[in-house]
Amino acid sequence: MKTDYNCFVGTWPFAKRKQIDFDGLRSMHQKHGIETGLVSSLGAVFYNDPFEGDLELSVIIKSSGYRLAASINPMLPNTMYDIKRADESFEYDAFRIYPTVHGYDFDTPEFREFYQMASERGKPIIVHCSFGDYRLDYLFKQKSFEMASLDSFLKRELKTPVLLCNMKLSELEGMVDTLSNEENIFIDMSEIRHSMFVVEDLTKMGLIKKTVFGSFYPMFDFLAAFIHFNGVDNTLKNTILNRKICD
């Protein structure tokens, strides 16, 4: 199924965004032939208790064919409490984490502990390497992490797939060996803005086989990522759109 791995429903606290409800998201997907999404709650990113956002979203998308990625902030005490509530309350296919919003890196003990718990459940982890344009933050400022910390995490034996969302082209270039060598790592195209010909660039870097589609909609214009398929061979386009990060 053609899938958007990087999409959200809910309220973006810093600006009016259009079509932020689930119907708006689905309608945008349908317009461009996307059949489903691994969707998360924007509320869960910013709520004191992420579970409240996940629970809201699980009701909204029930029976829609869309799948939920549960948002986790490993810096909150007793992360297992959140995971258990998710296990008991709704179906979810992945965990989604936001280190630049919640302020940690991949050497942080709390993250390592969370990773162990996620691995035991066999769920993929979606890592947002940024969350919006850091140059434009003024009401809230993201805390960037050292790419070396991510690189070192990825070089350890990965027990569950990791999808890296919102990575810039220069960041991908800096980690190309790690990304290429590990079977369980995937990337999305949502943040590769500093290139006119993204699919060509990823192909040259050998990363196209790792690429899934993610739009970061509704924070970014949906077409800003999707337009990179214009002029791309249909077989390659469909391969990317249909690629799964796990069974």
Partner: protein, 245 residues
């Protein structure tokens, strides 16, 4: 028709940049691209000459596609000679980057020349949460310049970086246009700008070779009529550059 009012050759990879720009013209149907050439933040006299020669060279190679801005450093003593030489050679506007803020008094004689020749100044303006350069203009600096010279045509690049800061600074200034180059792709940014300043002062610009494809996506996704999109894609640019073309 699409006119790109904001693109560059970077001195350290200008040959690749030319290829990217020409390929983009072919792929996306860009009918004209206005370029300037850039390198260091504080160029010396020789560097300015070299950069303008790169722009002129590309204009001569592909006159049917490429137009140029003459790049001027306001701190240089020969800035007016550089400006006049560039315009005499067929360049159609002036580019200011980060050597001095655009409301610096050393811009005044440049502004007066631009009014005389009826050419626009493309001002780099970017309000950054982090990494702001010492002499990097923001939309507030653009506002000061525009109020000082109401007859001067100014293109504020990148919507001032942050559309929410940038647009409020130019909302009441009819002599200021803005482009949305610079890889800001927030959903609804164009709609926000359109609601504040209308469609007559928005210009299509990409900032190629650093991205740009998403600028087409932004226009297509905005809640605009075909006529409004046409103004943004090319009609406004024809008006801005009308003094020389």
């Amino acid at each position: 028709m699409i006119i790109d009012a904001h693109a560059h050759l970077w001195a350290n990879h200008y040959k690749d940049d030319k290829r990217t720009i020409l390929k983009a013209c072919e792929t996306f149907g860009l009918s004209r691209v206005y370029i300037s050439s850039l390198a260091s933040h504080y160029p010396d006299y020789d560097e300015i000459n070299y950069l303008n020669s790169l722009t002129l060279g590309f204009m001569k190679e592909r006159p049917e596609l490429i137009s140029g801005y003459v790049y001027v450093d306001p701190t240089h003593n020969n800035k007016l000679d550089v400006l006049e030489k560039g315009l005499d050679a067929g360049m159609e506007g002036v580019k200011l980057w980060v050597a001095a803020k655009c409301d610096d008094y050393r811009i005044d004689d440049i502004a007066e020349k631009c009014i005389k020749y009826n050419v626009p100044i493309l001002v780099h303006a970017f309000q950054k949460a982090t990494g702001q350069l010492d002499n990097e203009s923001t939309a507030e600096n653009v506002r000061h310049l525009a109020l000082r010279y109401p007859e001067l045509k100014i293109i504020m690049a990148h919507m001032g970086g942050n559309v929410y800061f940038g647009i409020r600074c130019i909302s009441d200034l009819d002599n200021v246009y803005t482009d949305f180059s610079g890889t800001m792709i927030g959903t609804g940014d164009i709609d926000y700008a359109f609601e504040a300043i209308g469609e007559d002062r928005l210009l299509f610009g990409t900032d190629m070779p650093s991205g740009g494809r998403q600028c087409i996506a932004q226009v297509e996704e905005a809640r605009l009529t075909k006529d409004q999109k046409d103004k943004i894609y090319y009609k406004n640019a024809l008006r801005v550059f009308g003094g020389r073309r």
